[in-house]
Amino acid sequence: MVTKVNLRRRQLLIGSVAAGIAGTTAATVHDGELGAPPQTIRGAVPWKEGAADAPPGATGTGYVYFTPVEAAFIEAAVARLIPNDPVGPGAVEANVPFFLDRQLAGPFGRGDHYYLGGPWPKGTPEQGYQSRFNPAQFYRAAISAIDQYVGANLGAATFSKLAAAEQDKLLQGMESGEVKLDGGVDAKSFFAMFLQNTKEGYFSDPIYGGNKDMGAWKMIGFPGAHYNYKDWVTRHGEPVPFPPVGFKGRPGWREA
């Protein structure tokens, strides 16, 4: 099991399933603010040792959520969303597929911050996400529907077997809503989530598994989780020379 599960005070066991130590299934734990034990506070600001709400980074290697077929789609598709070239890393080179896998295997994939109760009419575009699927289910259903569409309409076995230009065309069709998919999958809605998640993996702190070597931050010039710019506030227009830093520091620190 590679998904790190720390049962902190912020996390809730749904029902009475015993869980909460590393190695048990993550599926019973809420991330975020729901369901800490009730607390009565009076007399002083409370203090508790070892309670820091540190972020849950990604661990391990390889995929735990994607099947090999799904991984083939993901790797092919994110390479079109953010292709590799000398300007900066592509999404594959930045390890975005691994990021997506860990996100879908964890609280985000379970729809931890989504309301998924019924009924589920389609709604207007202004009403936003209206699927019954949580993100993990949505990716699974969408990838299957896309490969089915490719088989039926584009003469290839799967999306990953298409030429890059054909892949781009299909992704554009999903983005605009022109392409209609089966299996209860709204192509436009899936594309929006997929593109957003891909950019998240590309630009988030490397502890989450993507943005390998902070390559995306280097490309744009973002110094990362930097704490203090006070000396630079009024140095208008000057290049800020800090190399990017993440929560775990940066490679330069280790070389010393």
């Binding site: 975020g32 009565t40 953010i82 575009p125 936003g128 630009f203 704490y227």
Partner: protein, 589 residues
Amino acid sequence: MTTTLKPVDAVLVGFGWTGAIMGQQLCDAGLSVVALERGPWRDTPTDFATGFAQDELRYMWRHHLFQNVSDDTLTIRNTVNQEALPMRRLGSFLLGTGVGSGGVHWNGQIWRFLPTDFLTKSHNEKRYGKKAVSAYDMTVQDWGVTYDELEPHYDQFDRLCGTSGKAGNLKGQIQPGGNPFEGPRANEYPNPPMQQTYGPTLFGKAAAELGRHPFPHPTGNMSQPYTNPLGAQMGACTYCGFCEKFGCGNYSKASPQTTVLPYLLQKSNFTLKTECEVLRVELTADKKRATGVTYVNSAGEEFFQPAEMVILSAYVLQNVRLLLLSGIGKPYDPKTGEGVVGKNYAYQTMSSVNVFFDDKLINPFIGAGALATVIDDFNGDNFDHGGLGFIGGAYIAGMITGGRPIEMIYTPQGTPAWGLEWKHAAAKNYLRSFSLSIHGSCMSARGNYLDLDPTYRDIHGRPMLRMTFDFTQNDHKMSDYLTDRAAEVAKAMNPREIKLNRRTGSWSVVPYQTTHNTGGAIMGDNPRNSVVNKYLQSWDVANVFSMGAGAFPQNAGYNPTATLAALAYLSADAIKSQYLKAPGPLVRG
């Protein structure tokens, strides 16, 4: 089974800004106070330490500090003829929860409304005629309170927060460097303004060349170390660029945690209970008096907390819902226009202009919540609306809250959202662009309101709140006009190009706009047009007070926090000086 607890003088429902202010005020008056917060305890060293606070993914995109909508959300639609569906994911607004609530993850933008903003109906009617305030089915009202009444309380909030800024109007004398359009203030800001980075500086220069009146944004981000009147100490802001949507690990942003709690938690007559969600306010059989509140905690235990006074200090949407669920006041009916609870829900009309340079390094990652140079020339009634076909306005801010790359990479008009072309545009423009924010008013209208949803229920089995809202033509016209004014300043900065992001079409729950929801529990001068009087006291149940921006009869072109804080102080003053001596209506209906 419901356990009945020991009675208290006052129970606070929700513990964000207004809960903290009322808790401090009422405890200092010697009352026993219990605050019930549905979310968790949060403090700076545990929950947003500098070692991990700068995390865009976790806080912004995974909503770590926000309300988790998985077991309680609201339903949304644009018009009464549509079926409302659940907001299944936060988007347009990012609701708070937990101790400090939105006061933890706000930007710290501290604004006073204009004196004429409190007279939206009478002032505009007098200047522009009856049609100006009744067009587009608008239902704007006067507030029933004046700027002059609120001024001492705005000042109280400035001192609590250590607001950094430059006064533009001291006792009627216009001051150089400040906002010349603001209402007169008794005192200068407690701290000097923040230093401005390159983008806001360029904006200010260009605005001045056009004859506008730029000034530094007043802010609850500390320009220097500060100790407030309660003894709470704050540190100088480090411009780290992770403010809005994040907690501050540096004690540099005013919040209930940094300004009130260190003091309030030491008082023996104050108790804070977390993970306790109030289900309803309990009333006597004749519905004239509240007896207390029923709440359930995260262990599933249900309690009745008897109280002499019930202060609804949750967010707008929860306060209105509790009024509706508890049967306090008559619900609003958009068909007949009768009833008041839920009436005049309004929002904020936002647009922006992105500015791209070739030759200037903006370094957008050097930022702070309210780091901006602003012009107020086109806000409220600071300009002649004759022939324009709308009322209201906006401030225009050359603003850099940060350069968080998932959210804040600007690419020129026509750039695709992905592919090599997008990547190249991101790499080329990230350091050389920023955005002007146009922060517009939102006028209330007959069809925009809050009520209870007939279909969807929360985990406690209670109906969800239903929001029916769309921008009016008044707001679209205002926003277009203001976006054009912002574009003039943008062009005067001599950039390579600009990109206009107008507010078009119907309100959508998807893209983030702002968490400035207002109305639904509006204040006014009589019970036929409002839910609460000027002291935020229910006209129907005199020992219930409803705090927050729910009291705004429509929303002005400013961030709401200072105004709702000033209203809370005004309410606390009236409770202490009048209500406690003779509990009952503070204003005759």
